[in-house]
């Protein structure tokens, strides 16, 4: 009885902490979204107020949609994110499988080399990357961004997935080998489904920085045809005047696709986080 009460108190405490964190994390998003529905004057008069009948204004959304290529920017962001994500997951899982499954000379060194990428930000290599893209004629293409983001996402993907793959039963893989499955079949049919929660975790951690990135689109692909949504929103931020309605509307719209992708992965993600608890 006392134990039950004790755990209720603990559950309550844990939830209080989590709710506080959620509020802190969601606050900027909340402010962005409510202000995107207000007139310019209302935004500055009382930034924290909800849009009311007097302050409600869709001018931001109208500006954004009139801006022409906004749909194109969305499409660019979406293709870059989805394609990069696909490559990160595929190559990351394959490399992780090789590192965790096979004993070969330099295995440990290779693992360390890949893990190094987690600690060294890829932006340090921007100049070299730009030179490379210029030399290969990839400047102002989405391919340039996809290549960079794939490289950026791989270290963490390999690191997390190889840890998970080490925990996949060796007996299961060996049973497959005895039954005559190829290493590819073992990888795709036996191992990948078992690390699906980990894949979802990696997917979420990979996709958000890619979607939000401003740096590489600005440097590698600033042309009108290849602009991403984050870069596209910058047209409203001027040196002297900033169209806050439009900026906030653009940012609010930009949340939607990530939210959709996140919801797709989140069911798996939650399973991945609680994987240890449920055996």
């Amino acid at each position: 009885m006392s134990q039950a009460r004790h755990s209720t108190a603990r559950t309550f405490g844990a939830h209080a902490i989590l709710i506080t964190y959620t509020v802190i994390a969601l606050f900027p998003v909340f402010v962005t979204v409510i202000n995107s529905f207000k007139s310019r004057k209302a935004i500055f008069a009382d930034p924290l107020a909800l849009p009311g009948p007097a302050t409600f204004d869709l001018v931001g959304y109208q500006t954004v949609l009139k801006q022409g290529d906004f749909f194109q920017y969305f499409l660019n962001s979406m293709s870059v994110t989805v394609v990069s994500l696909f490559f990160v997951l595929m190559f990351g899982a394959m490399a992780a499988f090789a590192l965790s499954e096979y004993r070969f000379r330099g295995n440990l060194l290779m693992g360390l080399y890949l893990a190094l990428g987690i600690m060294i930000p890829i932006r340090l290599g921007t100049v070299a990357i730009l030179q490379m893209m210029v030399a290969s004629g990839l400047v102002n293409t989405l391919t340039a961004l996809i290549l960079v983001y794939t490289a950026q996402g791989l270290p963490l993907a390999v690191f997390i997935l190889s840890e998970f793959m080490r925990n996949v039963s060796a007996d299961l893989k060996n049973a497959g080998r005895i039954d005559g499955l190829s290493e590819y079949t073992i990888f795709f049919r036996l191992v990948l489904p078992l690390v699906r929660p980990a894949m979802a975790t990696v997917a979420v951690f990979t996709l958000i920085p890619i979607w939000n990135d401003l740096w590489f689109p600005l440097i590698l692909a600033p042309s009108e045809a290849t602009k991403t949504i984050t870069l596209g929103s910058q047209v409203f931020i001027g040196q002297f005047v900033t169209n806050w309605n439009a900026v906030l509307a653009a940012l609010s719209l930009a949340i939607v696709p990530v939210l959709v992708l996140y919801l797709i992965f989140s069911r798996q993600l939650i399973r991945g986080i609680t994987a240890g608890a449920v055996k």
Partner: protein, 332 residues
């Protein structure tokens, strides 16, 4: 057909030698059990036979063919694992039929083979379920069924009963013994449990730290152990090892099994104090302590009563003693 020959087989992981030269022949139709303490290399040796682990040196021959460089699937073996290792995404039927499907066997033939195996293991009602919907015992039966379907030359078992509870373990053990009789196949079975080894084996291979200590039929090992390790490992409860010189015998160590010690009210050869009593109904185990020989176990038939710290005197038949030298090797 299914004979296995190992010649000077070794295995090293980097600098550590795990298997240190094993020579062994397993005859067609034999039930051979590898037994030894955990970490002695039993699984490694089995995986080398299966082809899941490369051989560092030496030869592995199945039916006279050197298979060192043959892939596991091509060795005509089947393996049953401790963790069952069923494919989680396939039904019981597909789990059992996968190897044949990979080998390109026609569908009708696969269905026939899986049905036959299912009947042998009474799995018929479970054929359309997935592994997650089965109990531990059922999973292990499916894993055994998957091995049978292949009609392998060699069956390899790696501690298949370790994850089952005691009652199920006995039941599955009997089932495996029956399968061996019915199929007449060659089976190699790894366990750390000497009871499993004694009850199943035609021949036991006792391993210690990557070496074969002794090979023989269960009763051969029980009645004629080559050294203190085998003497201590085979038989339960463990053999008592006494100080030979203190007893006036010409051996460094003298072994006597708990069942060969008798109580002698009065004039025994050894006096000891009772330290603990285990009453199992059919038998009573008495643990006694003697200052020179340490803890001694006595196994008595039926029910007996002793007080802790009671002094009792023990006797033994000289003909039932085992004599060992300083290195633990058997003298006579």
């Amino acid at each position: 057909m299914g004979t296995l020959n190992l010649t000077k087989v070794t295995k090293s992981f980097g600098a550590t030698d795990v298997i240190k030269g094993v020579d062994l022949t397993v005859n067609d139709g034999e039930f051979c059990v590898f037994v030894g303490p955990s970490g002695c290399g039993k699984s490694t040796l089995l995986r080398m036979i299966a082809g899941l682990e490369d051989v560092s040196s030496g030869d592995v021959m199945i039916d006279g063919r050197r298979v060192n460089d043959v892939a596991p699937a091509k060795r005509e073996i089947a393996m049953v694992f401790q963790s069952y290792a069923l494919y989680p995404h396939l039904t019981v039927r597909d789990n059992m039929g996968l190897a044949l499907k990979q080998a390109g066997v026609p569908k009708a033939e696969i269905a026939q083979a899986t049905d036959k195996a299912a009947a042998m293991l009474s799995l018929d009602a479970l054929m359309e379920r997935r592994p997650a919907e089965l109990s531990g015992g059922q999973r292990q039966r499916v894993a055994i069924g998957r091995a049978i379907v292949r009609r392998p030359k060699l069956f390899l078992f790696d501690e298949p009963l370790s994850n089952l509870d005691a009652a199920l373990r006995v039941q599955t053990r009997i089932e495996i013994a029956r399968l061996h009789r019915d199929l007449g196949a060659t089976m190699i079975y790894v366990t750390h449990d000497q009871v499993e080894a004694m009850t199943l084996a035609d021949r036991i291979v006792v391993l210690r730290a990557g070496r074969v200590e002794q090979v023989g039929a269960p009763m051969e090992l029980y009645n004629n152990p080559a050294n203190t390790f085998v003497a201590g490992f085979i038989g339960s409860p463990q053999m008592n090892f006494l100080n030979g010189e203190a007893l006036g015998l010409r051996a460094a160590t003298v072994g006597v099994r708990p069942e060969h010690l008798t109580l002698d009210r009065g004039a025994g050869k050894l006096v000891a104090k009772v330290s603990h009593l285990e009453k199992l109904g059919g038998e009573t185990l008495v643990y006694v302590v003697n200052p020179t020989h340490g803890l001694i176990t006595i196994r008595l038939f039926g029910e007996h009563e002793f007080a802790v710290d009671e002094e009792i005197s023990l006797n033994y038949d000289e003909n039932k003693l085992f004599f060992f030298d300083e290195d633990g090797q058997r003298l006579y």
